[in-house]
């Protein structure tokens, strides 16, 4: 079974990746000035020593490394330094679904908007639709998403009053950030779809299909789209990494309590354990997604072999 060997290999590689990320960031974090117990009011040495003992920060660094590694293998990231009422696992468990929801919805926006406009552009090549869609697509790619977010807030929140300004909870609060998150990727996907479709539509079998008397709609959707799917799926890998990065900014603008906010805050506040937990989660996520994309790619394109 090719697939299983492939997955096994990938799994092995993932372990190595996670271990490298863990090790590098573990030592980097302890190199950086600033500890987790700094506040505006300075701690007395006695209190500091007690706190360090509580979080095992007074042990030799090698011992800390192995303890932490051992706990991490058991998926126990320890207590959060800064959010003292929670363990890292709890923080991540609360943040992950939020970010996932945002990311998925952003991706769905990107794929649906991108592919629809790509198909329309390809079918009506060199028409007004084509030009305006491609112009919009390039704009989507060119405008950084926080600028886009600011513009959309002015339009949809202030002027039209369609959406609330920020927050998280109901559907109206998700739409704007998810759209901003998906916009640049929608742009890329539109262009990829258009190019892919144009290539396919020029082929002989499409002409045959038309000749058989199939309706243009069927031809485009059944044959054309399949050809366009390939570049789009292969683009999803990098897109997922981009979605993760983009969500850092959008979570901040729209005050969304996802992993991205935890991630940045943890790094800035030197919350070692939380930063590590979030980092490893992102790493695994990215790896799994890349693997899934490769897998999907091999499914839709028989020429691609898993290695």
């Amino acid at each position: 079974m090719n697939v299983f060997i492939f997955l096994l290999k990938r799994f092995g590689l993932m372990i190595v990746t996670v271990w490298i990320v863990f090790t590098v960031s573990f030592f980097l974090m302890r190199q950086i000035p600033g500890g987790p117990f700094n506040g505006e009011r300075v701690l007395s040495e006695a209190v500091r020593a007690r706190l360090e003992a509580r979080y095992n920060l007074d042990a030799p660094i090698s011992e800390q490394y192995f303890t932490h590694l051992y706990n991490t293998i058991q998926l126990d990231f320890g207590p959060s330094f800064k959010m003292q009422d929670f363990t890292v696992n709890e923080v991540l468990a609360q943040g992950f679904p939020v970010s996932a929801a945002l990311g998925i919805l952003g991706m769905v926006f990107a794929v649906t908007i991108g592919m629809t406009s790509g198909v329309i552009s390809a079918v009506h090549r060199n028409s007004v639709y084509d030009y305006s869609f491609m112009l919009l697509a390039t704009l989507g790619i060119a405008i950084p998403n926080f600028v886009l977010a600011a513009m959309l807030i002015v339009i949809f929140v202030f002027n039209l009053q369609l959406f609330p300004a920020a927050g998280w909870g109901d559907i109206s609060q998700i739409i704007l950030p998810a759209f901003c998150l998906g916009a640049p990727f929608a742009g890329y996907i539109a262009r990829l779809t258009r190019t892919g479709m144009l290539e396919v539509l020029g082929n002989d079998y499409i002409r045959t299909a038309y000749a058989k008397g199939l309706s243009p709609g069927t031809v485009v959707l059944k044959h054309g789209l399949r050809g366009a799917l390939l570049p789009v799926v292969s683009y999803l890998g990098p897109a997922i990494a981009g979605i993760l990065t983009g969500s850092l900014v959008l979570e901040r603008i729209f005050v969304i309590p996802g992993m991205g906010s935890h991630f940045i805050e943890a790094a800035i506040q030197r919350d070692y354990t939380l930063a590590m937990g979030a980092l490893l989660t992102y790493t695994v996520l990215l790896f799994v997604m890349n693997t899934l994309v490769d897998l999907a790619y091999s499914i839709i394109d028989p020429r691609v072999r898993l290695e």
Partner: protein, 398 residues
Amino acid sequence: MSIPDHHQSELERLTKILEQARGVQGVSLWADAWKRLKRNKAAMFSLWILVGIVTLALLTPVLPLQSPIYQDVKNRELLPPQGESFLFDIQAYEAETTLLEKQASAVQSKDTDEYARLRLRIEEREQTHPIELYWNNPGIFVKSMIKIRLVIFGDYCFPSVFGTDKLGRDVLSRVFWGSRVSLACGFIATFVSLLIGVSYGAISGYMGGWVDNIMMRIVDVFYSIPFIFIVIFIMSFLSSPGIREPLDNYGIEQIHVFFLLIGAIYWLTMARVVRGQVISLKNEQFIEAAKTIGATRMQIVFRHLVPNVMGIVIVYLTLTIPAVIRFEAFLSFLGLGVNAPDISWGLLVNEGVQVITIVKSYWWMIVFSGMALAMTLFALNFLGDGVRDALDPKLKNK
């Protein structure tokens, strides 16, 4: 010794062919691509826009702009765009210095005490010269450009047609000075990614076997590392005293390291692409030929393979530059980018986003910097598309 007859005729035939071949004007890949690029109006338009932007950025110090950093919070805070021109007070200042110098030379022989006092005042005035106040530690080159500007335009400054910011600084001037950092970041970082990516990919592809395998697995591993985090680490690492001081001694500023850092992140895709190209090229005859004449491995990689993958590399460059500029903006937005008083477009846009509220939107703070950023990225993207089409042999006759 005579050459057999049929050989003789063969030689003549070959010579003839050779002469014919010499007569044909070879069209190089580049010339051909350039021809096709010229036909692409959008790409050419973008190219001219970019040339314009880069030229303006380079010439910024000689343009009659206001000071990008001088604040006048009391009188000029958050003014909307306006056409009133602005004057520096530099000439008056220099005139006063000249006057002092005249006085000094007049008393030089008579009153040594008075002379010394005047000299001291002149020296002090050098210390507080407005150039120091209006521009942030300009280097020698930039300083001489500013002096040229002062000679040409005097005290005249272009009006604040882009409005002023919350510290009363001219937005137009800040957009111009910001372009220097943003563009430099885009180009330098991309250049770094080019160096790393091309060498890495070429070596990996050419060596093949287990070396290739390991090198590519390393790339895979890197692909799964969320780099934003590493950047946060390194940026705060760099500002720690133990690291900062030795770097300062070598004249390396945080911003330079920042360029390198971004470059070092963006080499991955480049490495993959180059590797793929090299693998398909390395069994070609010209490589075999190079081997037979005794070229070393490194010579083959860098003298024969790399030039042949330049096409695809250039296509990726035009895609990487906007990505890097956007990444810088993104970092500035998170407060991890350039430090004041340095200016970048990302910083300006971030400042603009902060003053968009229901109560009042100071739109000029975001519109102009955002447009400058978007226009550059837009043009780079279009140009990138154009270059790709132009270099893509499949599209040759379309």
